[in-house]
Subunit: 143 residues, 2 copies
DNA sequence: GCTCGAATTGGAATAATTCCAATTAGAAGG
DNA sequence: CCTTCTAATTGGAATTATTCCAATTCGAGC
């Protein structure tokens, strides 16, 4: 179904190795699924997609793999309101825009310096390891 | 236990009336609890606190009241990771800082203009009705 | 006092996620 | 290649926050 996975798979294997973890088929396919369609799927959606290539995988494993990918820094978790957690392989600094009409989530790339500007509002003594910016609203057809 | 509630209660009654809703004792006490200790409690924590004054209240009602307060704009919901939703009566523009060590959430007031600056990164056609900024990290004793 | 819709209540239902014990797989060493 | 030993996976049960629902209660206006 593709021939695109190898360089990704390699960086995956590398990252996993760095954390003392193994590159299993399950982890590779879960990661490929995230890279292949970047629509911020839920764990369930990832499960459905992965099953096409690996029918025997279990949902628990999908959760495990996602957790592993997050913990070695290849994937970000996105939480919106009370909805199920979504997963995002975009590692560039970006915000999320949640379209209230369609429910879709879009990445919004951030200009360099913006995150620093935002962090600069923190009072002395606050050290942020991560900043999340989330928009909610509507998208208009630009026309 | 206090004498501070009336002006709050009045604005509550007003806001509720504006939305065609009634100011019930349950709603008033839930709102007072939020105003009185602004530590971003969960629904369960609100439930516990409200029961001190209104022992017969049910958890379902607490959820209903919180939902009502949110929908008439007096309270904001704060979602962090997968944790239970927290509730915040601070209506000034502010971000949230989630202390990874203590689990506490602090409000960070935002300077005027910052939210507009952040919104300005949105491409044409994106209209944000709300922006949320969340920090995660550690707080150091300033000394 | 009555009426009638709104609000509250308790308990059942739902849904995402985590937990756990048992099995399987794979790398390293012999 | 076989064995070993740990990490990973699996299925199902358990957990937890939240929502749903049907029945009751409340209260403002007549």
């Amino acid at each position: 179904m593709s021939g695109l996975a190898d360089s990704n798979t390699d960086s995956l294997a590398q990252r996993l190795a760095d954390s003392g973890l193994r590159a299993t088929p399950q982890r590779e396919i879960v990661y490929d699924v995230l890279l292949h369609k970047r629509d911020h799927p839920t764990a369930d959606q990832v499960f459905t997609r992965v099953k096409e290539n690996l029918p025997g995988i279990s949902l628990a494993t999908v959760y495990n793999c996602l957790e592993t990918l997050v913990s070695c820094g290849l994937v970000r978790q996105v939480n919106l309101e009370r909805e199920p957690t979504r997963y995002c392989p975009n590692l560039r600094p970006h915000a999320h825009f949640h379209d209230e009409k369609s429910g879709a989530t879009h990445d919004i790339d951030l200009p360099p310096g913006l995150l620093d500007r935002v962090k600069s509002v923190l009072p002395l003594g606050y050290e942020a390891s991560a900043v999340e910016i989330t928009f909610r609203g509507k998208t208009k057809a630009t026309r």
